[in-house]
């Protein structure tokens, strides 16, 4: 019986979560494990490197040269949600009307928490399959790193008792039924009608009628996934960038995540320092007269000064964090990271700097 381990990569948009997740997967697979990387929004190039471009299912990365096996998948949000609805609605239930419902379409794509839910759903079903030694989960881009953890509960909180009562009341039945609705509920529906009109409220009610069929399953799934997230087999890696705002947010997140029972093991500061060492005044004379050396050196000096400022900033924060969790600084590579060679570079950096077991 395999015991699957999970790494969840959280962090705000634009820090390089997807790339680092892929590199982590690569690193673990090269140690001989069978690894699955679940990505949210890989660039076309990265998807092509992993061999998952245009594919909807979990696919083996074929040009992987290491000892183990690497698998990857893009989380197709709409598809995962739809499949979940189909399963949750049960056999013989026609889900077409739900999927075509305008409000469902908006909900499944834009509703806060829905993307996080499908990421969790995919994580959970991959975990249940017991097919992998490691699963790396890339999370949806968010404004704040904590969003991933709060979102599913937000989604579950949408469905509550009053709603269930509301939709059970048939408009045409007698006022005896409407007495089952609390006065406040009735008033709220009336206010909503004032704000949005009766057509909208009717549609909303119809929508909740559909939702009622599977909302319990959605709640259950969120609870199961939550249990997985706080379990001993799951570690969180926070991926962040090197600037004041991000680092102070990371600091807060650290204590918050701890209190909620999640295991934050590593803070990875991506693109923290230049790939190759840059020192002041290496070139002092150039024979080419078209080259303005003084201007060039001004730029280089400014760049080095900046690198030093960043390094100080990094140490200031990491010294505060050290006892609580590991802080890892990754290089800022000069070239764009998207092909196999560059992914291998980061993977070896990861293996060197992160204790993965």
């Amino acid at each position: 019986m395999r015991s699957t381990k999970v790494i969840v990569c959280i962090g705000c948009g634009g820090v390089g979560k997807t790339t680092v997740s892929a590199a982590l997967g690569y690193a673990l697979a090269s140690k001989g494990f069978k690894v699955l990387v679940l990505t949210i929004d890989p660039s076309q190039r990265l998807a092509s490197t992993l061999g998952i471009e245009g594919k909807k299912n979990i696919t083996q990365v074929l040009n992987f040269e290491g000892k183990g096996q690497l698998f990857a998948s893009v989380i197709d949000h709409a598809l995962v949600f739809e499949n979940f609805i189909k399963r949750a609605s049960g056999h013989g239930v026609d889900v077409e009307p739900i999927l075509k419902n305008r409000l469902y379409q908006q909900m499944s794509t834009n509703l806060s928490g829905s993307q996080e839910f499908t990421a969790l759903e995919m994580l959970y079903s991959s975990y249940e399959s017991n097919d992998f030694d490691w699963i790396i989960l890339d999370t949806p881009p968010a404004k704040h790193a904590i969003d991933f953890l709060n979102a599913p509960q937000k989604l579950a909180a949408l469905f509550n008792e009053s709603l269930a009562k509301w939709i059970k009341i048939d408009d045409q039945k007698s006022s005896w039924f409407s007495q089952l609705l609390a006065t406040s509920t009735r008033q709220i529906i009336q206010i909503l009608e004032t704000l949005t009109g009766s057509e909208f409220v009717k549609e909303l009610r119809q929508f909740f009628t559909y939702v009622n069929d599977w909302q319990k399953k959605l709640e259950d799934r969120i609870i199961q996934a939550h249990a997985l997230l706080v379990g001993p087999q799951t570690k969180f890696f926070l991926i962040t960038g090197l600037d004041h705002a991000k680092l102070s947010e990371a600091k807060e997140l650290g204590s918050l995540i701890d209190r909620q029972g999640y295991r934050l093991e590593n803070v990875i500061i991506n693109r923290a320092y230049p790939e190759k060492d840059i020192k002041i005044n290496e070139i002092s004379t150039i024979k080419n007269e078209d080259f303005n050396l003084e201007y060039y050196n001004q730029w280089k000096n400014r760049y080095v000064e900046w690198t030093n400022q960043r390094s100080n900033l990094l140490h200031k924060y990491t010294d505060q964090w050290k006892p609580n969790f590991e802080v890892i600084a990754l290089k800022d590579y000069f070239h764009t990271i998207s092909d196999k060679e560059s992914l291998k570079l980061i993977a070896s950096e990861v293996l060197e700097k992160i204790k993965l077991e």
Partner: protein, 282 residues
């Protein structure tokens, strides 16, 4: 007439920094300026070291006013205007059911936000106190959902007051003399490809042309001769400038209006916001 500037782009490209700089620039030129964050939690409180950012505008040390508008707050204000009853208002917003409804009614929060943003030119609600409003909007996907909300809601809320307002909201957003759309990106292949797609999507929706802003542009103004060099900085610089050459060529060919925002080598947010765009030194 009030000017409204929406700033968007993929996460992490520097939207908020650019938006703050714009606000500073307008404020310095003498226009009463408001910088608005959209979202449930403030980013500017950390970024600009401000204790509290709230729904009501507060003047910052930079000179511009700052506030954060959540969907819930915008809806609350709208509801209060419409219901005109404090107790009904409280009932609606303190109740768990209504919170569910607000969250789940897709487009409702987005519509309320756009309603508030465009209230000045539409002369709806309290009169406009600012000459310029800069909206530090959501990232790409959510931004598109935001601007698509009025049309979507117009169908669903044909007869309610919000439905009627959707029409005037759309009109305002399509009005070039009032609204501008600034799309922030970086001088790299993937971000440029994405920003051109975003430009196209916005154009499809609103029939309006956006301005593309390429952030972190190294304004190295001299020729970089092809020297064989082991100097690592030289290699880095060459790669960066090559990317920028590619970016310039691609954007010029696309015939979209674009400009660059300079890379400034500092860890201080304030420096970036306040340094002039004409600043030559990195």
């Amino acid at each position: 007439m009030q000017k409204i500037i929406f700033v968007t782009g993929k996460g992490g490209v520097g939207k908020s920094t650019y938006a703050a700089h714009l606000a500073y620039k307008y404020s310095k030129s003498g226009r009463k300026t408001l910088l608005v964050e959209l979202g449930d939690e403030s980013y500017f409180n950390k970024f600009l070291n401000i204790t509290k950012v709230s729904y009501q505008p507060e003047t910052t040390l930079f000179g511009f006013d700052l506030s954060i508008w959540t969907g819930r707050d915008c809806l609350k204000e709208y509801a209060l205007q419409l219901l005109r009853s404090e107790s009904l208002y409280n009932l609606f917003f303190e109740n768990k059911l209504s919170r569910s409804l607000i969250n789940i009614a897709p487009g409702l929060a987005e519509l309320a936000i756009l309603g508030k943003i465009t209230s000045g030119p539409r002369r709806h609600g309290p009169s406009a106190r600012h000459d310029v409003i800069i909206i530090d909007s959501f990232a790409t996907g959510h931004f598109l959902a935001l601007i698509r909300a009025p049309k979507g809601m117009m169908e669903a809320i044909k007869y309610g007051p919000m439905g009627e307002q959707s029409r005037s909201i759309i009109e305002t957003m399509k009005n070039e003399s009032i609204c501008e759309y600034h799309l922030v990106c970086l001088p790299e292949e993937l971000p440029i490809t994405e920003v051109l797609e975003l430009e196209s999507a916005i154009h499809n929706e609103l029939n309006i042309k956006s301005k593309i802003i390429v952030n972190k542009w190294w304004r190295y103004e001299k020729d970089l001769v092809n020297l064989p060099s082991d100097d690592n900085f030289f290699n880095l610089l060459k790669i960066q400038l090559d990317r920028q050459v590619w970016t310039k060529r691609t954007l010029d060919q696309s015939a979209q209006s674009w400009s660059n925002f300079p890379m400034i080598f500092t860890t201080s947010a304030e420096d970036i916001i306040c340094k002039s765009e004409l600043e030559m030194n990195p």
